[in-house]
């Protein structure tokens, strides 16, 4: 028998880590439910159930211990990220499809917890937006006042998907407006419409983003994440958005708009920081975060999709092993040589 030292262990566990990540999402979720609509809560429940069922089924098939892995909470984190990135009134089966795909294909088939090279939630998002582009782009129109019951009915397919649902995110709306106007309208004019764009970036959404920022800072303070990825992500986004904005403020929105709209904050603090599929070395994390921020901007502004965070993160996931390999930090006592 090997010596089992250390005998003392810190009070830490995977489920504790995942629980804290979920807790950190709460401020953002609260703002979401308050400002956009409580339907998101329903989506969170649907996604969580789907994730746990899919996880349980896969564990059973592979003969792995159910209790231990279900309790680790990683499936719930994935589920929540899916619910939070999908349109809030997306039909239930779309959320379930995405979640099951994330858990079964993107996570368990790669070997389960800790083995997935790609962020499962982002795989789900990418797959669904490619397969169901229309549904994935239908965001509730601004000012749409539906009761919780109505929202649930829409999600469950019991009520018709009226036109009012087929809105767009502020990001998407701006892109479309700029394209349609073909230079005749400036970003500043568009942003003046506070009904859509609120004070900074998108009515309501800017506060959801602020909620994520708050939760992210808390995770940093609790040492669940390091500063590298969010800082690099936000830094890259601000630099590229700021540069283009200064270059042509009529065509490009200001950095604040980009920071507070779409999945920027969620991406910077909760998605790009996923340790399993991300980089692990300090320099690697900086490159990973900056790459994701830059790609997110490019894809959301110049690409055909409403937002670019998912594809940006997936692309960086692809590069993560190489980045890690090339950014191994020098060890104690070997720094001169490096």
């Amino acid at each position: 028998m090997f010596a089992p030292a250390p005998f003392l262990l810190k009070d830490a566990s995977v489920s504790r880590v995942m629980t804290q990540v979920c807790l950190a999402l709460v401020p953002g979720i609260a703002a979401y439910a308050w400002l956009v609509g409580p339907a998101i809560l329903v989506q969170l429940v649907i996604a969580s159930l789907a994730a746990l069922l899919a996880e349980a089924a896969m564990l059973r098939v592979q003969g792995k211990p159910l209790g231990m892995f279900l309790a680790d909470g990683s499936a719930v984190v994935t589920a929540w990220l899916i619910a939070l990135t999908f349109p809030p009134l997306a039909p239930w089966w779309l959320v379930v499809t995405g979640t099951v795909f994330a858990i079964v294909i993107a996570k368990q088939l790669y070997g389960g917890l800790g083995q997935n090279p790609f962020n499962p939630a982002m795989v789900a998002f990418a797959v669904c937006i490619v397969a169901f582009p229309a549904l994935m782009s239908q965001w509730p129109s601004v000012g749409l006042q539906l009761s919780l019951a109505d929202q649930i009915n829409v999600i469950l397919g019991l009520a018709p998907r009226v036109d009012a649902l087929a809105g767009a995110t502020p990001l998407d709306a701006m892109k479309t407006a700029l394209k349609l106007a073909d230079g005749s309208v400036s970003v500043t004019q568009l942003l003046a419409n506070q009904d859509i764009y609120g004070n900074f970036a998108g009515r309501g959404w800017e506060w959801v983003a602020a909620g994520y920022l708050l939760g992210g800072l808390w995770m940093w303070q609790r040492k669940l994440i390091t500063w590298h990825v969010p800082t690099a992500f936000i830094g890259a986004l601000v630099v590229v958005a700021g540069g283009l904005w200064l270059y042509n403020p009529a065509q490009f929105a200001n950095p604040l708009f980009h920071l507070l709209s779409g999945g920027s904050m969620l991406g910077a603090f909760f998605i790009a920081t996923d340790p399993v599929s991300g980089c692990t070395t300090p320099r690697g994390k900086l490159i990973f975060g900056a790459g994701a921020g830059l790609l997110a901007y490019i894809i959301r502004v110049f690409g055909g999709y409403p937002d670019g965070v998912a594809f940006a993160v997936l692309l960086m996931n692809l590069c993560a092993p190489v980045i890690d390999l090339l950014t191994q930090p020098p060890i104690f006592g070997m720094k001169d040589k490096a």
Partner: protein, 592 residues
């Protein structure tokens, strides 16, 4: 005086659990029923036993003689009778046995004649030897023979002497109490080290959770008028690791591949300084040490314990609770469960912790690594434990070495923080021991190969000598004919087969050379051997060219083939340099 302290990366803050054993002063542990003194108690050579069963020994009498320079002597911890010199189970995680001297105390605890020395009057060499003879080793746990660390680098000036009183492991308090109660002798011991190493500065590092010890040391330093600096360092495990403490106090990072003296710094534990002083000023070799007895016990305390005391007996003094289910030697971060309560206290034993599930709850099952990087952030050597874990698990040991597994000090910080409860250190120990085992196998195989090749070489030489005798005889017969035939043969053969004929000529000529030189020369023997081999080679060459030269009939085909084969094998084995065999040909040309 204010000092600029440095930081090391990583580190963890486990609950210190030190107060329990700090309540009482150091107590003398009573004589045990018997003492089992292992001979191998330090890094390096295993001391040779110099006593036999039945011998009467006195306290402090030499029982094991240092074997080589990196080895330290072992002494009888009390007076009594040697019962046996035999294999006994060791306080080592492997649970293996090792040679021990078992002594039955006579109860008198009678010392040998102790001879204090004035070390100032001795040469540094004599002081080092004296420490070796007194069995002074690093008592911080590494048990490296102290005298082996007391030579400064010839090229790098000694900047700092670091004295380690940090004692960062939870539960352990023996150095703390030593400094509180015996500071003066510690400081005097440090003075000896200082005189031998001549550093520019002496820095005594003590974690800031031991203010009493620091105060006592400061008082002693002042009282003795020494210029030593007592520095309180932040409490952060493993600040008491030699490399970490050196880093904190001097900013220097000693890599695994270097000795600290190469960076102009050396580090000793406070207890080592104390024993060094006892050895010099009182003539007392190391026969006891301070041991913290704590954990799941009623009365945790520090004891002065004779080396060789069975751990079970020592533990009884502190009244272990009924649910005690094992003994941990060392601290909870780096210690290990001893295989048996019979194992003796050795020089490396700084602490015994009565183990129970209440104290150290069983670990949750291991989960997969989530690459959270917590381990890398905690690692004081700035390694990537999860990468090393991954490759250890995959038994890809080469890769673990690329990730610097041998820089790992097994401090346990990574395991401590891992949320997946992966016993990382165990994986690293496993990987290291596998790598060592493979090295050993490889070395053993290489040794065997070398022995085999040597034997082959000898056989060949014998064969060559035999063949050479035959060749001489043959040459003698052929000499006359050859001399006349040489020119003629060449002329005759040239139209048809010029190459082979030329070869044949050379062969014959070299055979002649053998004869010619063998008779007069004094060291002809050697020359003859060389020439014979060269001749054989040339013959073989000729043979390969598919012409059987007429005038070498005297050497049987078998003999020729034999010699050719031998040469080929030797060349294949790189035992002979082909360039060496070649000159024989030009030599024979000369004789043409």
């Amino acid at each position: 005086m204010l000092m600029n302290l440095f930081k090391f990366k990583g580190g963890v803050k486990p609950p210190t659990n030190k107060t329990q054993s700090l309540g009482l002063s150091i107590a003398q542990a009573p004589l045990p029923s018997k003492l089992v003194v292992p001979l191998h108690q330090s890094i390096g050579g295993t001391p040779r036993p110099v006593v036999q069963a039945g011998d009467k020994v006195l306290k402090g009498q030499l029982i094991g003689e240092a074997d080589g320079w990196i080895s330290a002597a072992v002494h009888a911890p009390t007076s009594g009778t040697v019962l046996e010199v035999a294999m006994h189970v060791q306080p080592h995680p492997s649970g293996l046995d090792a040679m021990c001297v078992v002594i039955e105390p006579d109860g008198k605890d009678e010392w040998i004649a102790r001879q204090p020395v004035d070390y100032q009057a001795l040469t540094p060499e004599q002081v080092r030897e004296g420490l070796q003879q007194a069995g002074v080793v690093g008592l911080g746990g590494a048990v490296f023979p102290t005298h082996g660390k007391l030579t400064a680098s010839k090229t790098v000036p000694m900047d700092e002497l670091v004295i380690n009183g940090a004692e960062c492991e939870p539960f352990i308090t023996c150095d703390d109490l030593l400094m509180r109660e015996r500071a003066e002798e510690v400081v005097r011991g440090i003075g000896v080290f200082r005189d031998l190493l001549q550093p520019k500065k002496v820095l005594i590092g003590i974690e800031d959770n031991k203010p009493e010890a620091a105060a006592a040391m400061r008082a002693a330093v002042d009282a003795l008028g020494e210029p030593f600096l007592v520095v309180q360092v932040p409490t952060l495990y493993p600040a008491g690791g030699a490399k970490q403490l050196i880093r904190v106090l001097t900013g220097k990072e000693v890599p695994a591949s270097k000795r600290s003296t190469d960076l102009g710094v050396q580090c000793f534990n406070v207890a080592t300084a104390y024993t060094a002083w006892r050895a010099i000023a009182h003539g007392e070799p190391v026969v006891s040490r301070l041991v913290t007895v704590t954990g799941n016990v009623g009365e945790p305390r520090n004891y002065e314990v004779l080396i060789g005391t069975p751990m079970g007996e020592l533990l009884q003094l502190a009244q272990p609770q009924p649910d005690t289910d094992g003994i941990v030697m060392g601290g909870p971060m780096m210690g290990f469960l001893v295989p048996d309560a019979k194992v003796p206290v050795v020089k490396a034993t700084n602490c015994l912790i009565a183990h129970s599930e209440r104290l150290f709850p069983p670990k949750a099952p291991e989960m997969p690594c989530i690459r959270c990087g917590a381990c890398a952030q905690a690692c004081p050597h700035e390694l990537q434990p999860f990468e090393m874990y991954w490759f250890s698990r995959a038994k890809n040991f080469g890769k673990t070495q690329e990730y610097h597994i041998f820089d790992c000090i097994e401090c346990g910080c990574c395991s401590f923080v891992c949320p997946s409860r992966i016993p990382l250190v165990q994986y690293f120990r496993f990987a290291k021991s596998e790598i060592w085992a493979r090295e050993r196998d490889k070395n053993a195989a290489e040794g065997a190969k070398a022995r085999f090749e040597f034997k082959q070489l000898r056989d060949e030489r014998e064969k060559a000598e035999k063949a050479e005798k035959l060749a001489k005889a043959a040459a003698a017969q052929a000499a006359k004919k050859a001399a006349e035939a040489a020119a003629a043969a060449a002329a005759e053969a040239s139209p048809t087969a010029p190459d082979s004929a030329a070869a044949a000529t050379q062969v014959q000529a070299s055979a002649a050379t053998v004869e010619a030189t063998a008779t007069p020369a004094v060291d002809a023997e050697k020359e003859a051997k060389k020439a014979a081999i060269a001749a054989a080679m040339a013959r073989a060459k000729a043979q390969r060219e598919a012409v059987q030269p007429k005038n070498t009939e005297q050497l049987s085909a078998v003999q020729q083939r034999e010699q050719a084969e031998i040469e080929a094998r030797r060349q294949a084995a790189h035992l002979t340099d082909p360039a060496q065999a070649e000159p024989a040909a030009p030599a024979s040309e000369k004789t043409d």
